[in-house]
Symmetry: C2
Subunit: 381 residues, 2 copies
Amino acid sequence: MDSSSSKCEKKPERGALGRMTVTYRVRSDAASIEARAEAIAIEQSVETPLAAISDETVLRDILGKVQGIRELEAGLFEVQIGLAVETTGFEAGQLLNMLFGNSSMQEDVTLNDAEIPDIMAARFGGPNVGIAGLRAKCGADTRVFTCAALKPQGLSPKKLASLAARLAAGGIDFIKDDHGIADQAYSPFADRVRACAEAVRRAGSRTLYVPNISGSFDIARGQIALAIEEGVEAVMIPPMILGVSNFHRLVGEFPSMAFFGHPAMAGASRIAPPLLFGKLFRLFGADVVIYPNYGGRFSYSPETSRAVADAARRDWYGLRRCLPCPAGGMTLERAPEILDFYGPDTMLLIGGSLLSERDRLTEATAEFVERVARYFEDKNR
Amino acid sequence: MDSSSSKCEKKPERGALGRMTVTYRVRSDAASIEARAEAIAIEQSVETPLAAISDETVLRDILGKVQGIRELEAGLFEVQIGLAVETTGFEAGQLLNMLFGNSSMQEDVTLNDAEIPDIMAARFGGPNVGIAGLRAKCGADTRVFTCAALKPQGLSPKKLASLAARLAAGGIDFIKDDHGIADQAYSPFADRVRACAEAVRRAGSRTLYVPNISGSFDIARGQIALAIEEGVEAVMIPPMILGVSNFHRLVGEFPSMAFFGHPAMAGASRIAPPLLFGKLFRLFGADVVIYPNYGGRFSYSPETSRAVADAARRDWYGLRRCLPCPAGGMTLERAPEILDFYGPDTMLLIGGSLLSERDRLTEATAEFVERVARYFEDKNR
C-alpha cells in the first residue's frame, strides 16, 4: 500500500468549492483495494466509465479522487475519497446521496466519516436552539436533562394524556411520544397532541411535551403547526424515514422549535453512527439526538456511544451544540453509570422502566428527576 | 424448535384490521431464538416491557405476535411476526417504521418479507400507469423497453441536452437523468430540464425524458410541475432519500405521471431487495423500479434479481404491474443474456456503456434499440 494515509482530519481541498473528505471502510484483498477505491470514487461522483467522459472540467472538478488508503487489519481498509462539494447542491438529501447513495448497496462498503467544510455548515445551519437553548427552555443551568417516553401505541388519547399528566407531575423535563405513535385511527394526531399538551400544561411543572411527527412533508408541517397552537416547543422526527431534506426544511420553517432526531430506519451497520447521528443529524438541525446506548437492546459499543455524543456536542464551525440522548432499554438502576459515562450535557431517557412502575409512576418519576438533578452536585460534594 | 413453521404465505389474521405477517431473518443460537423473536415482536409494536402495559386491548390487538420460527441453517432463523395493520395508519413512512424502524439498528436482524393485506394495497394504490400504461406511452406493444442514462453530473444543461438529443435521435424509449444529477449550481434543475426536454421533443422520436427529482417534498412537487409544463411524462425519485411518505404523496398528486423508483440509500444488506423494491416501492407507486442487476457493479445474485422482477410484475391485489429495470453497469454485449433472463416485460437500462461510444452515440443507440426491439421476434422465428 503506497497510498498516503493519515488519521488526521484533512482540510477540504480548494478548487471551485473544494472537496469533502469522505472515509469509507472497505473489505477487500490488498491486491484489489486500489481499483476498488477508484471504483467507489467513480460510483459516488460521475457514476460512469471514464471513457464516457469527454469534458475536462468534469474530470478535474467533479470526478471523485482517492486521497488515501490505509489497511486497518487484514482484509479491511480505510479509504479516503475527495468528493466535490458542488455536487451536493447544499441540499440534505443530495448530500446523503453523494456520500453513500449507490455504495449503500455494496455489501463490502460502509460509510465511516465525512469532513464537511465550513461553507456547508454555514449553509445548512445546524440546530435551532442547541444545548444552551434547551437549558433555557427547561430552566436547567448545568444539570442533566430528564426525559420519559409516552407509550405503548394503541392507547387512546385520553389514556396517553393521563400517563403524560402523571409523568409531568413528577417534574420530568421532557415527555416524548414513542416513535411508533403516529396518526393512527385509535389515536389521531390532533386529538392526542391536544389531550397530552393540555395534560402537561395543567400539571403545572415546566415539563415539555414532545410529539412524534410523521407523514409527508406537508402533513408533518401541519402537525407541527397544530402542536405550536397547543404551546408545544419541541417535536421529534425520524429523519431517515421522513427524509433528511424534509427534516432540514422543517427545522428552517419553525426556527423557535427544538427538534429531537430519532434514529428509526438508520440501519446501524452501514453508516457509522457518530457520522450519521453526531454530525449529519446535527448539521441538518437536530437539537437533541436520540440513539441506542451501549448495554441496552441494541449492539452499540461504549466507544461508539461516546463517539456519537462527542460529535454531537463538540465545537464545530460555530453550529449550536446538539444534546445527546442515549436510549433503548435504559433503566432507573443504570442512571448513575450513564451519567458518569456522559457527564451533565446529556439527556437521560428512561422509557419502559419508568412506565413499569404503574401506580407509582409520579413518585418514581419524581425520585428519578431528583436523583438526576442532584447527581453531580452530590458527587462533587 | 417446536414453533409452527411454514413457507406458505399466511392470510392476514382478523381482529380489528388484522395483522401483517412480517418475516425477519435472525442470527441467534437455538437456545435464545424464542426470546429473541418475542423481543422483536415487542420492539416493532409496543416497544416497552410488558410489565408497563395495563391495557388489555393493547396486549390483545397491538402487541406483535410471534407466528412462527424456522431454522434455516445453524445459527440463522426465519421468524414470522404478526404486526397489527392499524399501527401503520396506512401511511408509507409509518409502515416502514413498523416493519423495521428500530430493528434496523440491530445487527442480528434483517427484514426479509411482509405479507401486506388487501386493504393496505387498496389504500396505498400502487403505480399510476404500470406496465400497460408505459406500453401505451411508448407505443411498445409487446417488446422490451430501452433506457439510457444522462450523465455525468457536472455537465452544463446545454451539454446534457446535446447528449439527450443524440440518444433520442437513436430512438431510445427513455432517457433518465443519472441519480446524482439534482439541482446544482453547474446545472440548475429548471434550466437543465427545459433544455433536455426541448432537445428530446425536437428529435422527433417518441423518446420520453425522465428527470431526477430531489429535495424536500415541496421542492420536489415544484420540480415535477415544471417538468409537466415541458411535456415530461415520467420522473425518477429515490424513495429512500426523499422519504417513502413523500414519494407516495407525489404519486398521488400527479396521477398521469409515471414514476421511476431509484434504489439510492436502500442499503441492500438489511432489507431484502424483493420486498423493498418489488413490493414496497410498487405499493407506494413506482411504475418502474430500477435496481442493481446481478453481474454488474453490485453484489446481487441472479436469484435476488429475479425475485425483485417477479415481485414487481406479478398479479398482486389488482395493483398495476411495475416494470423491472435491472441496472448498474449493464453493457451492450450483455443485452441478449439479460433479455433471456427477464423476458419482454423489462426495461433494459444501458448507461455508461452507451455513452462510451461518444461520436457514435446516435448510431450505437439506434443499433441497441433495433436489436432489443427485434430480439424476441428474431428468437421465435
